[in-house]
Symmetry: C2
Subunit: 150 residues, 2 copies
Protein backbone atom coordinates (compact mmCIF):
# COMPACT_ATOMS: atom_id res chain seq x y z
CA UNK A 1 0.00 0.00 0.00
CA UNK A 2 1.49 3.35 -1.00
CA UNK A 3 1.25 6.39 1.27
CA UNK A 4 -2.39 7.34 0.90
CA UNK A 5 -4.51 10.43 1.24
CA UNK A 6 -5.25 9.21 4.76
CA UNK A 7 -1.64 9.58 5.83
CA UNK A 8 -0.30 12.36 3.64
CA UNK A 9 -0.33 14.88 6.47
CA UNK A 10 1.50 12.60 8.91
CA UNK A 11 4.82 13.65 10.40
CA UNK A 12 7.12 11.96 12.87
CA UNK A 13 6.86 14.82 15.30
CA UNK A 14 8.84 13.83 18.37
CA UNK A 15 10.50 11.23 20.55
CA UNK A 16 9.93 11.28 24.30
CA UNK A 17 12.54 10.34 26.89
CA UNK A 18 12.16 10.55 30.64
CA UNK A 19 14.96 12.41 32.37
CA UNK A 20 15.93 12.44 36.02
CA UNK A 21 17.13 16.03 36.41
CA UNK A 22 15.89 18.62 33.90
CA UNK A 23 18.49 21.17 34.95
CA UNK A 24 21.28 18.80 33.94
CA UNK A 25 19.49 17.53 30.81
CA UNK A 26 18.45 20.96 29.54
CA UNK A 27 22.00 22.21 29.95
CA UNK A 28 23.27 19.20 28.00
CA UNK A 29 20.76 19.36 25.14
CA UNK A 30 21.07 23.14 24.82
CA UNK A 31 24.74 23.87 25.48
CA UNK A 32 26.35 20.67 24.23
CA UNK A 33 23.91 19.48 21.57
CA UNK A 34 22.85 22.95 20.43
CA UNK A 35 19.09 22.42 20.63
CA UNK A 36 16.61 25.15 21.54
CA UNK A 37 13.92 24.88 24.18
CA UNK A 38 10.89 25.62 22.02
CA UNK A 39 8.09 24.85 24.46
CA UNK A 40 7.37 23.57 27.93
CA UNK A 41 4.33 22.37 29.81
CA UNK A 42 3.93 22.06 33.54
CA UNK A 43 1.56 19.20 34.37
CA UNK A 44 1.68 19.55 38.14
CA UNK A 45 3.64 16.52 39.25
CA UNK A 46 5.50 16.35 35.97
CA UNK A 47 6.87 18.82 33.46
CA UNK A 48 7.52 18.45 29.74
CA UNK A 49 10.28 20.19 27.81
CA UNK A 50 10.29 20.33 24.01
CA UNK A 51 13.66 20.79 22.33
CA UNK A 52 14.53 21.04 18.65
CA UNK A 53 17.07 22.33 16.20
CA UNK A 54 15.18 25.54 15.67
CA UNK A 55 17.45 26.58 12.79
CA UNK A 56 16.19 23.55 10.86
CA UNK A 57 12.57 24.54 10.85
CA UNK A 58 10.40 27.47 11.84
CA UNK A 59 7.00 25.79 11.71
CA UNK A 60 4.69 25.44 14.70
CA UNK A 61 5.78 22.73 17.07
CA UNK A 62 3.04 20.35 15.90
CA UNK A 63 3.87 20.89 12.23
CA UNK A 64 7.48 19.83 12.20
CA UNK A 65 9.58 16.74 12.69
CA UNK A 66 12.65 16.14 14.83
CA UNK A 67 11.49 17.27 18.25
CA UNK A 68 12.83 15.77 21.45
CA UNK A 69 10.39 15.75 24.36
CA UNK A 70 11.93 15.36 27.81
CA UNK A 71 9.61 14.34 30.61
CA UNK A 72 10.58 15.16 34.16
CA UNK A 73 8.66 13.46 36.94
CA UNK A 74 9.29 15.89 39.71
CA UNK A 75 11.35 14.72 42.64
CA UNK A 76 13.45 12.10 40.84
CA UNK A 77 16.40 14.48 40.80
CA UNK A 78 16.54 14.41 44.60
CA UNK A 79 16.90 10.61 44.82
CA UNK A 80 20.58 9.63 44.53
CA UNK A 81 19.67 6.05 43.66
CA UNK A 82 17.11 6.94 40.99
CA UNK A 83 18.03 6.21 37.38
CA UNK A 84 16.14 5.72 34.14
CA UNK A 85 16.65 2.69 31.92
CA UNK A 86 18.34 3.44 28.61
CA UNK A 87 16.87 0.54 26.63
CA UNK A 88 20.25 -0.97 25.74
CA UNK A 89 20.96 -2.73 28.98
CA UNK A 90 18.50 -5.57 29.58
CA UNK A 91 15.57 -5.50 29.09
CA UNK A 92 16.26 -4.06 25.63
CA UNK A 93 13.94 -2.02 23.46
CA UNK A 94 14.58 1.61 22.53
CA UNK A 95 18.11 2.01 21.19
CA UNK A 96 19.14 5.60 20.58
CA UNK A 97 18.43 8.95 19.03
CA UNK A 98 20.78 10.19 16.32
CA UNK A 99 22.09 13.61 15.43
CA UNK A 100 23.66 14.24 12.02
CA UNK A 101 26.44 16.82 11.77
CA UNK A 102 28.47 18.30 8.95
CA UNK A 103 31.85 17.52 10.47
CA UNK A 104 32.04 14.40 12.62
CA UNK A 105 35.65 14.91 13.65
CA UNK A 106 35.23 18.53 14.72
CA UNK A 107 31.97 17.79 16.49
CA UNK A 108 33.52 14.94 18.47
CA UNK A 109 36.57 17.04 19.32
CA UNK A 110 34.22 19.67 20.73
CA UNK A 111 32.27 17.04 22.69
CA UNK A 112 35.58 15.88 24.22
CA UNK A 113 36.44 19.44 25.23
CA UNK A 114 33.00 19.81 26.83
CA UNK A 115 33.54 16.66 28.88
CA UNK A 116 30.92 14.54 27.11
CA UNK A 117 31.11 10.82 27.86
CA UNK A 118 31.70 8.64 24.82
CA UNK A 119 30.47 5.13 24.31
CA UNK A 120 32.31 4.94 20.97
CA UNK A 121 34.70 7.50 19.50
CA UNK A 122 34.96 7.61 15.69
CA UNK A 123 38.33 5.87 15.84
CA UNK A 124 37.08 3.03 18.05
CA UNK A 125 36.10 -0.19 16.30
CA UNK A 126 35.44 -0.69 12.64
CA UNK A 127 32.88 1.99 11.90
CA UNK A 128 34.95 5.18 11.63
CA UNK A 129 32.08 7.29 10.38
CA UNK A 130 29.94 7.14 13.51
CA UNK A 131 30.29 7.91 17.20
CA UNK A 132 28.07 7.29 20.19
CA UNK A 133 27.89 9.60 23.19
CA UNK A 134 25.88 9.35 26.41
CA UNK A 135 23.34 11.92 27.51
CA UNK A 136 23.07 12.70 31.25
CA UNK A 137 20.63 9.80 31.78
CA UNK A 138 22.88 7.41 29.84
CA UNK A 139 20.65 7.39 26.77
CA UNK A 140 22.77 6.79 23.69
CA UNK A 141 23.08 9.51 21.04
CA UNK A 142 24.56 8.41 17.73
CA UNK A 143 26.54 11.08 15.89
CA UNK A 144 26.67 10.63 12.11
CA UNK A 145 28.00 12.76 9.25
CA UNK A 146 25.33 14.40 7.13
CA UNK A 147 27.27 13.69 3.92
CA UNK A 148 27.50 17.36 2.90
CA UNK A 149 31.20 17.40 3.75
CA UNK A 150 33.90 14.97 4.87
Amino acid sequence: MAPSAATQSFKLNHTMLRVKDPEVSLKFYQDVMGMSLIDEHDGGDFKLFFLAYEHQNVAHRAQREGILELTWNKGTEKDDKFAYHNGNDEPQGFGHIAVSVDNLEESCKRFEELGVRFKKRPQDGKMRSIAFIYDPDNYWIEIIPNMTSK
Copy 2:
Protein backbone atom coordinates in the same frame (compact mmCIF):
# COMPACT_ATOMS: atom_id res chain seq x y z
CA MET B 1 24.77 29.35 25.43
CA ALA B 2 22.97 30.03 22.16
CA PRO B 3 23.16 27.58 19.26
CA SER B 4 26.66 28.19 17.99
CA ALA B 5 28.53 27.78 14.75
CA ALA B 6 29.64 24.43 16.13
CA THR B 7 26.11 23.05 16.15
CA GLN B 8 24.38 24.93 13.36
CA SER B 9 24.44 21.89 11.05
CA PHE B 10 23.02 19.53 13.66
CA LYS B 11 19.75 17.68 12.98
CA LEU B 12 17.80 15.18 15.03
CA ASN B 13 18.05 12.57 12.33
CA HIS B 14 16.41 9.44 13.72
CA THR B 15 15.14 7.36 16.61
CA MET B 16 16.03 3.67 16.78
CA LEU B 17 13.73 0.99 18.12
CA ARG B 18 14.40 -2.74 18.16
CA VAL B 19 11.62 -4.83 16.66
CA LYS B 20 10.95 -8.53 16.98
CA ASP B 21 9.52 -9.29 13.54
CA PRO B 22 10.32 -6.92 10.69
CA GLU B 23 7.64 -8.35 8.44
CA VAL B 24 4.98 -7.37 10.96
CA SER B 25 6.58 -4.04 11.85
CA LEU B 26 7.23 -2.95 8.26
CA LYS B 27 3.65 -3.74 7.34
CA PHE B 28 2.46 -1.67 10.29
CA TYR B 29 4.70 1.34 9.72
CA GLN B 30 4.09 1.37 5.97
CA ASP B 31 0.44 0.38 5.59
CA VAL B 32 -1.02 1.73 8.82
CA MET B 33 1.27 4.65 9.61
CA GLY B 34 1.96 5.59 5.99
CA MET B 35 5.75 5.74 6.21
CA SER B 36 8.07 4.81 3.37
CA LEU B 37 10.99 2.42 3.61
CA ILE B 38 13.76 4.74 2.45
CA ASP B 39 16.81 2.58 3.14
CA GLU B 40 17.90 -0.71 4.61
CA HIS B 41 21.17 -2.23 5.69
CA ASP B 42 21.91 -5.90 6.23
CA GLY B 43 24.55 -6.29 8.92
CA GLY B 44 24.71 -10.08 8.85
CA ASP B 45 23.11 -11.10 12.12
CA PHE B 46 21.00 -7.97 12.21
CA LYS B 47 19.24 -5.79 9.70
CA LEU B 48 18.31 -2.10 9.83
CA PHE B 49 15.27 -0.54 8.21
CA PHE B 50 14.93 3.23 7.80
CA LEU B 51 11.41 4.60 7.51
CA ALA B 52 10.23 8.16 7.06
CA TYR B 53 7.40 10.30 5.81
CA GLU B 54 9.00 10.73 2.43
CA HIS B 55 6.43 13.32 1.37
CA GLN B 56 7.74 15.58 4.14
CA ASN B 57 11.28 15.81 2.85
CA VAL B 58 13.27 14.70 -0.17
CA ALA B 59 16.76 15.28 1.19
CA HIS B 60 19.36 12.55 1.56
CA ARG B 61 18.67 10.29 4.51
CA ALA B 62 21.47 11.86 6.56
CA GLN B 63 20.29 15.40 5.85
CA ARG B 64 16.80 15.22 7.19
CA GLU B 65 14.97 14.81 10.48
CA GLY B 66 12.15 12.49 11.49
CA ILE B 67 13.50 9.09 10.53
CA LEU B 68 12.54 5.91 12.36
CA GLU B 69 15.21 3.22 12.38
CA LEU B 70 14.00 -0.28 13.15
CA THR B 71 16.63 -2.82 14.16
CA TRP B 72 15.90 -6.49 13.68
CA ASN B 73 18.18 -8.95 15.42
CA LYS B 74 17.58 -11.95 13.22
CA GLY B 75 15.88 -14.94 14.79
CA THR B 76 13.87 -13.11 17.45
CA GLU B 77 10.74 -13.49 15.33
CA LYS B 78 10.94 -17.28 15.70
CA ASP B 79 10.89 -17.20 19.49
CA ASP B 80 7.30 -17.14 20.77
CA LYS B 81 8.42 -15.92 24.17
CA PHE B 82 10.64 -13.13 22.88
CA ALA B 83 9.48 -9.57 23.44
CA TYR B 84 11.11 -6.16 23.53
CA HIS B 85 10.67 -3.75 26.41
CA ASN B 86 8.64 -0.64 25.56
CA GLY B 87 10.14 1.65 28.19
CA ASN B 88 6.84 2.39 29.91
CA ASP B 89 6.55 -0.76 31.96
CA GLU B 90 9.26 -0.94 34.61
CA PRO B 91 12.12 -0.22 34.26
CA GLN B 92 11.05 3.05 32.65
CA GLY B 93 12.99 5.24 30.25
CA PHE B 94 11.99 5.83 26.64
CA GLY B 95 8.35 6.83 26.45
CA HIS B 96 6.98 7.09 22.92
CA ILE B 97 7.31 8.42 19.42
CA ALA B 98 4.65 10.83 18.19
CA VAL B 99 3.01 11.36 14.83
CA SER B 100 1.14 14.57 14.10
CA VAL B 101 -1.85 14.40 11.76
CA ASP B 102 -4.21 16.93 10.25
CA ASN B 103 -7.38 15.21 11.41
CA LEU B 104 -7.16 13.32 14.68
CA GLU B 105 -10.70 11.98 14.56
CA GLU B 106 -10.47 10.67 10.98
CA SER B 107 -7.02 9.20 11.59
CA CYS B 108 -8.19 7.35 14.69
CA LYS B 109 -11.29 6.09 12.91
CA ARG B 110 -9.05 4.67 10.19
CA PHE B 111 -6.75 3.08 12.79
CA GLU B 112 -9.80 1.39 14.33
CA GLU B 113 -10.84 0.05 10.95
CA LEU B 114 -7.33 -1.30 10.40
CA GLY B 115 -7.44 -3.13 13.72
CA VAL B 116 -4.83 -1.01 15.48
CA ARG B 117 -4.69 -1.49 19.25
CA PHE B 118 -5.36 1.66 21.24
CA LYS B 119 -3.89 2.54 24.60
CA LYS B 120 -6.01 5.72 24.69
CA ARG B 121 -8.67 6.80 22.26
CA PRO B 122 -9.26 10.57 21.90
CA GLN B 123 -12.47 10.29 23.92
CA ASP B 124 -10.80 8.40 26.80
CA GLY B 125 -9.71 10.46 29.79
CA LYS B 126 -9.32 14.18 29.99
CA MET B 127 -7.08 14.93 27.04
CA ARG B 128 -9.41 14.80 24.05
CA SER B 129 -6.83 16.08 21.59
CA ILE B 130 -4.44 13.14 21.80
CA ALA B 131 -4.54 9.40 21.31
CA PHE B 132 -2.04 6.64 21.96
CA ILE B 133 -1.78 3.50 19.85
CA TYR B 134 0.51 0.49 20.17
CA ASP B 135 2.91 -0.61 17.48
CA PRO B 136 3.43 -4.38 16.97
CA ASP B 137 6.13 -4.48 19.69
CA ASN B 138 3.90 -2.54 22.10
CA TYR B 139 5.86 0.67 21.71
CA TRP B 140 3.56 3.63 22.27
CA ILE B 141 2.81 6.02 19.40
CA GLU B 142 1.16 9.28 20.38
CA ILE B 143 -1.16 10.74 17.76
CA ILE B 144 -1.57 14.52 17.93
CA PRO B 145 -3.29 17.10 15.74
CA ASN B 146 -0.94 19.30 13.73
CA MET B 147 -3.07 22.38 14.37
CA THR B 148 -3.71 23.09 10.68
CA SER B 149 -7.32 21.92 11.02
CA LYS B 150 -9.68 20.72 13.73
